[in-house]
């Protein structure tokens, strides 16, 4: 099969010129092409927000669900047909705010999927309110005195909850993003990439220039050293490390369910008459 990135790109986008989403979308298309995954065997789940429009712009199966609820249907999909490649892609508000509970518990479950979060530290679709990852002090039309709560740190959270694949990328480092996406898709278990991304329309603080000055690629010797990964995840401010911080697989959700042992559930034939013995225990 001859896989080309443009085969995975669909229709015009509705994003602002200069938006970080463009590079993320291109990196994804290139990653899928390099892995040469057939479109009909990929499913992209998303919630609501600018990033969550991605299923409309990538040639794959797509489930553009409710705000904050990208992960639960993705888990359901893993149950139904474990042969599909599942990617969950949404923004920081969707994934860490509205969907925070699902973020916590799906890391614990460890389903085999890749979770790409477009983290622009702002709510874009609703025009510029603070997100859970906005830095303290950011003034918006709602946070008129500036954000007071500390920013949620998704990477530290994921590590503490037992995620096996934890990475931070930047939309301005597309090649690195693409390579990390490929690793995440191939990883067995829940793989998180928090992708830093400027919002050119609403986030006047965390701009391309702001990130460019700060991001760097640290040398990481041991990808199974969680303490080191945690230390890197906590670096923020003057210096922001990028990279795959932690790569340490553990048993997946799918491997723990007896019914998922052999062929996918959706391909198992069924006839109610074969199970009439179910009522014997009630005699």
């Amino acid at each position: 099969m001859n896989c080309k990135a443009e085969d995975y790109l669909l229709q015009e986008t509705a994003w602002c010129p200069g938006c970080g989403n463009f590079a993320i979308r291109e990196a994804l298309a290139e990653a899928l092409a390099e892995l040469c995954l057939p479109s009909h065997e990929i499913v992209i789940f998303s919630g609501i927000g600018q990033a969550a429009k991605i299923p409309h712009y990538i040639n794959a199966n797509g489930f553009n669900g409710l705000h904050g609820r990208a992960l639960p249907p993705a888990l359901g999909s893993r149950v139904a047909n474990k042969n599909l490649n599942v990617i969950v892609e949404s923004g920081d508000g969707d994934s860490y705010g509205e969907g925070g509970n699902h973020f916590i518990h799906n890391i614990r479950r460890n389903p085999d999927l890749a979770h790409f979060i477009h983290n622009n530290q702002i709510y874009g679709l609703t025009k510029g309110q603070a997100s859970p990852t906005s830095d303290p002090g950011m003034v918006t039309g709602v946070q008129v005195g500036g954000v007071t709560a500390p920013a949620l740190n998704p990477l530290s959270m994921a590590l503490v909850l037992g995620a096996g694949f934890v990475a931070r990328c930047f939309s301005g480092e597309k090649e690195h993003l693409k390579e990390t996406m490929k690793k995440a898709i191939n990883f067995s278990g829940y793989a998180l990439i928090d992708i830093l991304q400027p919002c050119v329309s609403f986030n006047k603080i965390n701009t391309y220039g702001w990130y460019k000055k700060r991001v760097y690629f640290p040398e990481i010797e041991d990808l199974q050293d969680r303490a080191k990964a945690l230390e890197l995840s906590e670096q923020w401010g003057e210096r922001i490390p990028l990279g795959l911080f932690y790569n340490n697989p553990r048993p997946t959700f799918e491997s723990t369910a007896a019914a998922l042992e052999d062929e996918p559930l959706v391909f198992k034939p069924f006839d109610p008459r074969q199970v009439s013995g179910l009522q014997n225990e009630f005699f």
Binding site: N61, G62, F63, R69, G76, V79, L84, L265, F283
Partner: protein, 566 residues
């Protein structure tokens, strides 16, 4: 001829153990019975009790009067003595309870002491079962066989329990042997002893349900327990979600991918699910939701019963989309009715709400075995050649149903669904014309869906003067009320809805204007079925018989209200 037993005590004293053992043994002996629970929302203490009624004609409801009272604590005796018939008996432990001097119906059985002598006081319940058997002139053999089955894997446990059983039997025999005679075992062949949640769980599994995602909530949890118990041996996955929002969205993801799915909950959890219900409507994803009702609002009475969520089930979810609402009436019917819910969800690509309630969920009855050959498994997923290419998930069709394929099945074909308004392919749109045509397409499905609804069951006089209309788990109690009224010379009938929305109207319209007096009988404060009927048909009832104290109706309560209004 019938025998009514009440076993009461504090939560944790094991009323259920007694009733499950006794009930199953009685059914094996050929008895027809019903057993239900009245319990508090606590794990220890309080006052819980179970009623078991044995009657010649398969009983549909329990009654207030008591023939045998098993008092595991003193409170049970105090609270229920007034309903004990003059010829009744009280089984009690004289080491723990003192009956009044003028109480001559006592059957003292030192349950704890006898249990300890047999091998442990945990077996006090088995002692009680032995006492119950001798009072009803039954031998211990059937229960012994059950104990062997139950404790097959635990060496010596069955033997100790049998010793406890016999100790109870022999002790009670000294004060009262064969005091009660059972109705003749009128049934040939084996029958099931099963509760409502088990009926629904077994139906789901036999309907090809492959995934249940749910959050535990009384009184729906039994469905989850049933399916989880089968998940090692059958192709079903049960996942305890972090909340009901996750539960319904997980189910939708699995359904989109091609599995038949279920979620179950009660009112509060259903409230959390409603955005997901709306998503099922918009994305046209098949889904069955069992809502086991309990009294609300908010946390309400967690372990009690009510039919307070009918209006909510019909209207839950923002925006307008087609759906069906079915209900559990009897154990016999619910097994096939839930299968119908799955079939409708798949055929019409809609959410189907299946209303159960605590009264149904927790009630055991003795019933004929189910015919699994009557169940269907047709997901209505398009095969190669059954859809137009290029594939469009929301292709406009005459009946509104777009051929559905599942992701990964056909090379080159992708499936896109969207919670935003979308075009035929599934892509976000905002233009007025597409919005209108998509809304019309979705709503068109209601026309054919309405034709699938079963007319309500008519029971009793085919040309009644008195008509009792009901729905859901009140089937049995209204039926018994009709029997009582008919025996008293009234021309009475019941018209009972299992399929509720879209409302089947013909039989109701034919009857309601002809009868002298019509009543709508509901376990709620506002008469929600009556409201629905008025809204859909313009017809109203002469009277509403409503009960909303968290307890199920007793037949006499309905009969009295009817007689009072005549």
């Amino acid at each position: 001829m019938e025998v009514n037993i009440l076993v009461g005590g504090a939560a944790g004293q094991g009323m259920e153990t007694i009733m499950n053992l006794l009930g199953k043994a009685l059914v094996r002996e050929g008895c027809s019975l019903i057993y239900n629970k009245d319990y508090m929302s606590r794990v220890r203490g309080g006052h819980n009790f179970s009623r078991l009624r044995i009657a010649a004609d398969s009983p549909w409801s329990t009654v207030g009067s008591i023939d045998i009272l098993v008092a595991l604590n003193e409170e049970t005796y105090t609270l229920h003595r007034e309903n004990l018939v003059p010829s009744g008996r009280v089984i009690y432990d004289p080491q723990h309870i003192t009956l009044p001097e003028d109480e001559d119906r006592g059957v003292p059985v030192e349950m704890q002491k006898l249990a300890e002598e047999a091998g442990g006081k945990v077996m006090a319940n088995t002692v009680a079962v032995g006492a119950l058997l001798v009072l009803m002139d039954l031998k211990t053999g059937t229960v012994e066989a059950l104990l062997h089955d139950t404790f097959a894997s635990k060496e010596g446990v069955a033997e100790k329990n049998i010793a406890a059983l016999k100790a109870g039997y022999n002790t009670a025999a000294q004060s009262c042997s064969a005091c009660f005679s059972l109705p003749p075992g009128q049934k040939d062949g084996k029958r099931l002893f099963i509760d409502g949640n088990q009926v629904l769980g077994m139906s789901a599994l036999a309907s090809g349900c492959r995934f249940l995602s749910a959050y535990p909530m009384t009184p729906s949890t039994g469905v989850m327990n049933y399916l989880a118990g089968k998940s090692k041996d059958y192709p079903v996955v049960v996942e305890q979600a972090e909340d009901e929002i996750a539960a319904i969205n997980m189910a939708l993801g699995a359904s989109y991918t091609g599995a038949r799915v279920l979620t179950c909950t009660s009112g509060g959890g259903f409230s959390l699910m409603t955005e997901g219900l709306s998503l099922a409507g918009m994305t046209e994803t098949p889904l069955v939701v069992i809502v086991a009702m309990r009294p609300g609002p908010a946390t309400g009475l967690p372990t009690r019963t009510e039919q307070g969520d009918l209006g909510y089930a019909i209207h839950a979810g923002h925006g307008e989309f087609p759906r069906a609402v079915l209900s559990a009436t009897s154990h016999e019917d619910a097994f096939y009715r839930l299968n119908k819910a799955f079939e409708l969800a798949d055929r019409y690509q809609v959410p189907v709400v299946f209303l159960s309630d605590q009264n149904f969920a927790d009630t055991h009855r003795s019933i004929e075995p189910f015919d699994f050959g009557r169940l269907s498994y047709n997901q209505a997923i398009a095969a190669e050649g059954q859809y137009e290419k290029p594939y469009k998930r929301y292709r406009i069709t005459e009946n509104g149903i777009s051929p559905r394929i599942i992701p990964g099945r056909f090379s080159g074909e992708t499936v896109l669904v969207d919670s935003d308004e979308h075009d035929e392919k599934g892509n976000i749109i905002e233009d007025a014309a597409t919005r209108k045509s998509m809304t019309d397409k979705r709503m068109r499905k209601l026309t054919a869906l309405a034709g699938e609804m079963d007319e309500p069951d008519l029971y009793g006089d085919p040309h009644p003067e008195i008509l009792l209309v009901g729905w859901g788990s009140n089937y049995g109690v209204i039926r018994e009320a009709v029997d009582v009224l008919s025996a008293g010379g009234r021309k009475a009938a019941m018209l009972h809805f299992s399929d509720i929305f879209p409302l089947p109207q013909q039989r109701l319209k034919d009857l309601l204007n002809e009868v002298r007096k019509s009543y709508c009988v509901e376990n709620n404060a506002t008469g929600q079925l009556a409201s629905l009927i008025r809204q859909e048909t313009g017809l109203s009832f002469d009277n509403l018989i409503l009960k909303y104290d968290g307890r199920p109706f007793l037949p006499r309560e309905i009969v009295e209200e009817v007689e009072n209004e005549l």
